[in-house]
Symmetry: C2
Subunit: 347 residues, 2 copies
């Protein structure tokens, strides 16, 4: 039996320990430009600049029925990574915080966990101790918190968590840590009849619980990593049970494969923030239609986090080089974003 | 290396040999009722009757915002099987005719096939000979015609075939063998903001080439069986290559699993024609919202084919029992359908 093996979660653990030593943002502290308040600005949380202008020009251009770059509605496919692109991902992917919290909430039914690793360390909030258990320990945590239950039970568990849990650093709900500028971008594209999809390395069942409401993206347009499942009708009350076996890893080369599998059509617009999104952007850039590739660059250590080439979570290294080379758009969060999180304009 | 193993294709081969001995339709030869031409009949190719009335009443009922059975738009998920439900499937699944034709068109590059089974028999139109090669032979045919090429090449091959190939019995294009009453039903549901999906045991890449245009269902709402694929960017021109390894069989228990994987939400409306659709209908019937399950029953040997409990293709046995038990709708093609194929009202 294969156990799910999200490498991202393994990698993320090193950051739990190392995150306090992260380098501070060394980017220039550009004054936030005052956005020209022209009528009906579709991206009011974006500062005026090349990136904002390029996005708006692109959308207007390809939706102009008389223009040479017009894209038929059916081909207006826009794909977005989630972690680090639509919401934050530090100090570890939020789905792993769910797993840790879930171990704690399940622990009353597992008294043996008090003395059994990796659960003992989780229960003691001893992240270094969890780390010592290595990949095997991480996989045990993921397996007990993500498989062996039916999808109703999983949905209910994630739903309760997302409604109540607080981010350990920011002390706000996780869904309050989505990016306001990206919410506006999604709405702008949707308003121009782009079909927007999430294409994330995160777990698809985890995202679908809350992402539809938060992003306005229907569940069937949310693509992610998955574990296998089976239909069970033994007691006449059919359920789908999540199995502790990997189905699909929607990251790196897996992203174009997932796009082909779930969408069946090459995107014209793709947005990510890490090397894990590079192949999705390459795939999009090969579209015969006019296309746009956008990287979100985490440069704001004050309002969010600053990280790129050296980060264990959301590493952006090769992707940044390729973006420069190919003149893809790079949104500098510190410079291009007036607001980061919704309702926190003054941060 | 696992080779794809569509059991449906294996099963279908026996019919190629046996189809001439198929039993004729023994259903009563009901006179076609004249449909009352009331204003704006949404289903003009359906004869008036209990089934047509139940479908129209259901849709009007659950989309009435003031009614107790109202279903929010996001939950209006309707899933349709394809082979035998939206288009014909006799004497074998049309995708297998594609595979046989493809072997012939590829044969000039494979002179060895003239003496090598199973290709020799395919080239000689000797279906009994193909049968003798057993499952191994079938798998070889499927592998050489469905894998080892990139998705552009496959799309182009299927596209050319669907535009030109003729059905060996009916002598018309395969896309002319879709069911007019079902096209109207799809349109009726779409007009009431149902999101319509195909959930088929057939190959997803095969369907997506033509089904979007024919049914008005976007590629990303077409779910089917699949083989694995990989992203290949070695020469800077990214492609997705189809591999000769099974990824997912979207049939029987696989249908609810596929629905969960691709849609993430339980349907309220499901339609099929065989036991392979039974679990999809069971899954739909367990929806908390008012739901409708519909079986298409092939009863018309004159205008189409008549088959059910004993058929190797599209066997409807257990499903028919369960439909009776649960009072699901059963559309009797001979009685309920005024027209079968588009533009052939006089047939």
């Amino acid at each position: 039996m294969k156990i799910i093996s999200f490498t991202m979660i393994v990698v993320s653990m090193s950051v739990l320990v190392a995150c306090t030593s992260k380098t501070e943002n060394t980017n220039r502290n550009g004054d936030e430009k005052r956005d020209t308040l022209y009528a009906k600005d579709p991206l009011p949380s974006w500062n005026d600049g090349d990136v904002k202008k390029a996005i708006i020009d692109y959308v207007n251009n390809v939706t102009n029925a008389d223009g040479a770059d017009f894209i038929p509605i059916a081909d207006r496919i826009a794909t977005f990574d989630n972690d680090g692109t639509l919401w934050a991902e530090q100090p570890v992917y939020f789905q792993f915080f769910y797993a840790l919290d879930k171990v704690k909430s399940m622990s009353s039914g597992h008294p043996e966990w008090k003395t059994q690793e990796p659960f003992k360390s989780v229960l003691n909030n001893d992240m270094a101790g969890v780390m010592k258990q290595g990949e095997k320990g991480i996989l045990q945590i993921v397996a007990v918190t993500h498989a062996g239950m039916n999808t109703n039970e999983f949905d209910s568990s994630v739903g309760q968590w997302i409604d109540t849990a607080l981010h350990p650093v920011k002390k706000i709900h996780y869904t309050a840590m989505v990016y306001q500028p990206m919410l506006e971008l999604l709405k702008f594209l949707q308003g121009h009849q782009f079909k927007t999809f999430i294409v994330s390395g995160g777990g698809v069942d985890f995202m679908r619980v809350w992402a539809e409401k938060v992003y306005g993206i229907p569940k069937d347009q949310i693509i992610g990593s998955s574990i296998k499942a089976k239909f069970d009708d033994t007691d006449g009350n059919p359920v789908i049970v999540k199995l502790p076996e990997l189905d699909f890893i929607d990251d790196h080369e897996g992203k174009p494969v997932g796009i082909q599998k779930f969408i069946g059509r090459k995107p014209v617009f793709a947005c990510g923030n890490s090397d894990g999104d590079l192949q999705m952007l390459q795939w999009t850039a090969s579209n015969k239609y006019s296309n746009l590739e956008l990287y979100v660059h985490h440069t704001d250590a004050d309002r969010e986090w600053a990280y790129d080439r050296q980060s264990s979570i959301g590493k952006l290294d090769k992707g940044l080089d390729e973006a420069m080379q190919n003149k893809w758009l790079v949104a500098d969060m510190k410079i291009d974003w007036k607001t980061i999180f919704p309702g926190r304009k003054s941060e």
